[in-house]
Symmetry: C2
Subunit: 188 residues, 2 copies
């Protein structure tokens, strides 16, 4: 949409510092830490942080962008070697795991994904693409949308974070959902 007006060199440097600091701090202490702390860690004034990232979601989305880019690419590669259903299952499972990397991100996953960061865009696009494939192949109910997927990922992420999340529990819940959207009569 609005193409960026090109940052000054120092501003770009500070932006990177903020992102690196955010990544660290979010990992250590969850997505709800004080933004003052992020600024401090970055060695930058709080005003600078706000100028670059007007909302917490914007910062979260930006910090996540690289991670999400990799995820989307990996998913794409995997999808080429497997049937759409398995690909979708794997996508969902990994989306949850990525969401769980920052404690407390789950509740805002929807909001974060809607920020137009490259990583978020790629992740959404890839998810929609796989879903479409599975539906075209008649493997998944036609009335499922990508928003449904995000909703489910949120749910699973929430659930596994409150208790002591385990990979197997995630797999279990993913399984339930995949079973729910499966279109074949003999599912399970």
């Amino acid at each position: 949409m609005t193409d960026e007006p090109a940052l000054r060199a120092d501003a770009r440097r500070n932006r990177e510092r903020i992102l690196a600091a955010a990544e660290e701090v979010f990992l250590e202490r969850g997505a709800a830490v004080s933004l003052d702390d992020v600024a401090k860690r970055a060695g930058v004034g709080i005003g600078t942080l706000y100028r670059r990232f007007p909302t917490r979601e914007a910062l979260l989305a930006a910090a996540y962008s690289a991670r999400f880019l990799k995820f989307a690419a990996a998913s794409r590669r995997r999808a080429e070697k497997s049937d759409p259903m398995s690909a979708l299952r794997a996508y969902l499972q990994e989306l949850v795991q990525h969401t769980n990397v920052y404690r407390g991100l789950a509740a805002s996953l929807g909001a974060v994904l809607q920020v137009g960061t490259p990583g978020c865009l790629a992740t959404s696009a890839e998810g929609a693409r796989i879903l479409q494939l599975a539906q075209t192949a008649g493997m998944v109910r036609a009335d499922i949308t990508f928003d449904d997927i995000v909703c489910v990922a949120t749910a699973i992420s929430l659930a596994t974070q409150q208790n002591g999340s385990s990979k197997s529990q995630i797999a279990h819940l993913v399984d339930v959902f995949v079973h729910g959207i499966d279109n074949s009569k003999a599912a399970r």
Copy 2:
């Protein structure tokens, strides 16, 4: 557990005022309003509010208790006239709708349900009961827990509150989940 030590008359009166104020304010402005505002509306000091309700969840749960009691009773009545699967579906759908009555309750639904308010207890018990029935009848996969239900309700509530929630969207998501836990081979 710990039976209440019987409040003094004035304390009981204030407690009621706080609950009434909380109900009003939560309805008007969501579950995240400042507790100071609730106290002000109730014509009571903030200290009094904290003495009676040590956490926001405790207050939410208490304010909700009556509503949840009715819900649980209605659900119970309905369950007698229908098969467990429909009952479960209706339960889940209404749980989401009730959760959406206060904007922003969704995120703490799990925490709220765990507060030992009569309404919360009844709601949990009723949900667990219906689930059990459906499982005993072999209609629902045995590996589903009531926590799974709460988790799904939370997510659906979150998702439908961010966008412009519509009854039909809720119904759709509930449907997907119910289909997912359905145990019959020929589901759908």
